[in-house]
């Protein structure tokens, strides 16, 4: 277990900040959760307004008997049709006036909140629990259970709601909260059932559900322990939104005389009463209408906000500033290189901190050269690639440095000009070819479209060029592939189409981000061959980003080893592969040499985990995992030093050696 001992100590060093950051977002830390919710609401004013409003309305509903100044059912014909207090002829004890029968409108609206909201909540409860249960068993047990439930759902959806409501309510002797909620809620079960069913279907295929079955868990246990905890979250989100909707549905039913049996006040009932006196007293329908509007608005604002809050994608990361050493004295050739990257820093401003993904990276790329960028996940290698082509995911942006492509600074030019550069001058290949190609367009169409976007070409010429592009990547079956949709092709074939697409306009620079990781080893070799041929034919420069240094050993001309957003070593193949200077480069090279290690020996492993860009330690970022760490490494960032022509290393060992 030699490798796991340093691993533990590094984790404990990192464990504290990580724990304190993440526990806040963890669902079980209740107090932290409330604090986080508070902070979230302060930033989202709309959600705060909605939540406060909803709580107020709920309180009014709960305490209606105490708050309401009058009995809402108390008749007094002599006081009929009084206007609200701000109009002439009003009575001081009827703030919002009275209706035709002399009942206090304010009291009726307050009591109406109680009835309307109760009906909404009950309807949602009935619809969601019925739908949740049916969706769960439909998705989990499948086969005929699923078929029956889903067909019933189809019928439910096709059946007019009003007809259903009339059929039930019109014949009931009394229309009370219960049968009204039942009618409204029941019709909604299919909405929940479908959502839950699709969630369950996807959960059922997850590896962890499969793992539970592999452990011998019974179907019921799999359902209750593994599928259910990951499927129910969709229900409250939809339910919250529906509460508002039901307030409106209830008033519609009242309007059609299908609401609560009079004289019980609900907002719908008050509204429908008021309609008859609209000309005499326009406030009568307006006030309950306003109540409905405000309530629905508040509930929707609150539920939108809460849905965002509980979205797990809002996880936050920490950030620590660290000093940088000397700037590199780069080997600068006389001729202008194709791409000159200087001091590029890319950050992701997150909720509370700014995460630096790429930290002052500089390099030159000559025409026809292949640069291999090697790093583990979280090293910033992909972010660097995306920074160059200006396709960073929000909220990432380049905050410092220059990216000079043919003398033009890509960080300074506008979106329009950048679109001209992309595709025509700089192409990109992504890791997952399946998701990078448009699934609904044929391969031929996508190729022609790309070509015609950058050049004025007739359809015929474009088709010929598309064929040539596919031929160039070694696709023999041209006609079939041109007509095929991406999903009809294998992974290797898709990746070739991606290369053809990226290369069709013969860009000067091609950025390939882990293009081979999803491919089999035999296909990987073919991919490298293709790229090499392309380079020889068109003189394209290539940036190849990967986590596997062995893959590039016989391919790249220049290597750049990245760690935690910084360059630790850069140089020619001979310098980096044959005489590596940085302990991290050495460790990477050792870790891939496993075919040379006999089975009875241990593999050279790098202890600990790849860097988390939000928790870069002070000093040298590699220090916690470094086998040759010195006290100074934990304090000062070493800065980049030049060893020989184009060979740069950021390590304190070099200064220690020369001193």
């Amino acid at each position: 277990m030699t490798d796991s001992i340093p691993n533990q100590s590094t984790k404990s060093a990192r464990g504290t900040p990580r724990g304190s950051v993440t526990e806040e977002a963890a669902p079980r830390a209740t107090t932290g959760n409330f604090r986080a919710l508070g902070l979230f609401l302060l930033r989202r004013k709309g959600a705060l307004f909605g939540l406060v409003g909803t709580v107020l309305i709920a309180l009014i509903a709960v305490f209606a008997p105490t708050i309401a100044p009058h009995n809402p059912l108390e008749l007094d014909i002599t006081q009929g049709l009084l206007p609200p207090i701000w109009n002439e002829g009003s009575a001081p004890d009827h703030l919002l006036g009275t209706d035709a029968l002399g009942r206090d409108i304010l009291s009726r609206i307050i009591w109406g909140a109680r009835y309307s909201l109760t009906i909404s909540l009950l309807s949602v409860a009935i619809g969601s629990s019925l739908g949740f249960f049916l969706g769960l068993i439909s998705g989990f047990f499948g086969k005929w259970v699923d078929a029956i439930i889903m067909r019933l759902g189809d019928i439910q959806l096709a059946f007019p709601f009003l007809l259903f409501a009339i059929a039930v309510l019109a014949v009931s002797p009394e229309r009370n909260i219960w049968n009204l909620s039942l009618v409204m809620g029941f019709a909604q079960w299919i909405v929940y059932a479908r959502l839950v069913r699709s969630k369950v279907l996807s959960e059922k295929e997850k590896d962890y559900t499969r793992a539970a079955r592999a452990l011998g868990a019974s179907p019921i246990r799999v359902l209750v322990r593994y599928v259910l905890p990951n499927s129910w979250q969709i229900v409250p989100v939809v339910a919250m939104l529906q509460i508002g909707g039901f307030v409106v549905v209830e008033s519609t039913l009242s309007f059609l005389n299908l609401g609560l049996t009079p004289p019980i006040p609900s907002w719908g009932a008050i509204l429908s009463d008021g309609r008859q006196y609209m000309v005499v007293s326009p406030y009568m329908p307006l006030l309950p209408g306003l109540a409905i509007l405000i309530t629905v608005l508040c509930i929707n604002l609150a539920s939108d906000g809460l849905a965002d809050f509980f979205d797990p994608k809002l996880a936050k990361g920490g950030f620590r500033r660290y000093p940088l050493g000397l700037l590199p004295e780069l080997h600068e050739p006389q001729r202008e290189p194709l791409l000159r990257v200087r001091d590029v820093t890319t950050v992701f401003p997150m909720e509370e901190q700014v995460v630096t993904a790429v930290n002052r990276v500089s390099f030159d790329l000559e025409r026809g050269q292949i640069l291999g960028i090697v790093g583990e996940s979280g090293s910033g290698k992909s972010t660097l690639g995306l920074s160059i082509i200006q396709l960073l995911d929000a909220p990432g942006r380049v905050v410092n440095g220059q990216i000079l492509f043919q003398g033009k600074d890509l960080t300074r030019i506008g979106d329009h000009e950048m679109r001209q550069v992309r595709g025509k001058h700089v192409g990109m290949i992504f890791q997952n070819p399946g998701s990078s190609l448009n699934p609904v367009l044929s391969v031929g169409y996508q190729l022609r479209e790309t070509l015609q976007r950058h050049h004025t070409l007739s359809d015929e010429v474009a088709t010929r060029r598309a064929q040539e592009a596919l031929e160039a990547v070694g696709i023999a079956d041209l006609q079939r592939v041109l007509r095929a949709f991406p999903f009809e092709l294998s992974g290797g074939m898709q990746q070739r189409v991606m290369i053809a697409l990226a290369m069709s306009c013969e860009p000067e620079l091609l950025i390939a981000d882990e293009p081979s990781t999803a491919l089999d080893v035999t296909t990987q070799v073919q991919l490298l061959d293709r790229l090499d041929e392309m380079r020889k034919k068109t003189g394209t420069s290539i940036i190849f980003i990967t986590h596997d240094i062995a893959l590039l050993a016989d391919f790249a001309d220049v290597f750049m080893i990245m760690y935690a957003g910084q360059v630790c070593e850069m140089g020619q193949r001979k310098q980096v592969i044959e005489a590596p200077q940085h302990p991290y480069t050495k460790a990477l090279l050792d870790s891939v040499a496993r075919t040379d290690v006999p089975g009875n020996q241990r593999l050279a492993a790098i202890p600990g985990d790849p860097p988390d860009p939000s928790e870069v330690p002070p000093g040298c970022p590699f220090a916690p995992r470094c086998p040759r760490v010195m006290p100074i490494c934990r304090e000062a960032n070493p800065g980049i030093m030049t060893l020989g022509a184009g060979h740069t290393v950021a390590c304190h060992l070099l200064t220690a050696k020369s001193a």
């Binding site: 490798d3 984790k11 963890a26 452990l215 996940s377 062995a550 391919f555 090279l589 241990r602 790849p610």
Partner: protein
Amino acid sequence: MTTLLEVRHLKKYFPVRQGLLGRTVAHVRAVDDVSFSLDEGETLGLVGESGCGKSTLAQTILFLEPPTAGEILFRGKVLTGRETRELRRNIQIVFQDPYTSLPPRMQVADIIADPLRIHKLGDQVSVDRKVRDLLQEVGLKPDWASRLPYEFSGGQRQRIGIARALSIDPSLVMADEAVSALDVSVQAQILNLFKDLQEQHNLTYLFVSHDLGVVKYMSRRIMVMYLGKIVELAPSQELYDHPLHPYTRALLSAVPSLHRKRKERIRLTGEPPKPTAPPAGCRFHPRCFMAQPICSEQEPELKEWVSGRFSACHFAMDNLAATAKM
């Protein structure tokens, strides 16, 4: 040495349905007549490209997919699929993707303890102790038991997956691409862990991977699979030095290496054919660089050419001659 697992003529076909009525138009022969045996305490490697049926083979052994034909014997007893509970106490699996193989809303302690509860092994106190011991053993801190999976890195998650598989003391663990989703630098840690655990618990492994480098380091013997069939089976070092099948040679030469020149590598042309309609004769012949007329006519059998070394190639000995010169 006793035989732990024996697989005889195992087949797993998936029907391909088409049309409104769901007529079966063809079968995907994911596993097509596979036989091998696994000794107690050994590691058998299983390599092949994606889609060759290696994962299906592993899942069929666990009856996660019921076999179409053939027999699976565990400790000499034929499995019928009715004793799955007991079977799954003895055989466990570690999955490829550490991000999807752990239930996201379950605490680590529960993830590891659940198998013990399923099989009703021990009371709360002993389960808790076992969880802490397991965490320690796979190189994680016992204090992290109450954390959720998303708080861990890929390598750490894979350690949790391993702890879960080991919690019920299985005798056979199948690792289905267990390190493929990890950074190369982290793979070595996990491979070392697998080795340590094997020694301490006398585990038997079926190690499935597309990466011959990983399999070679882990295994005593290696089995190479192509389109649902075993094409070569040999002791690890011998297979690596002198493969008896051209497909193995191609796979070996494609393993990224710091020393070998790319130009020296054997190129396979084309893609693996569709498993619904495997080519006649030898399934590999359309891509084979040594193909002769006989290869498209007659399907080669998996034969023992040299003691302990099996190959399904008409020209197995020519491969031996070719690699001996290298």
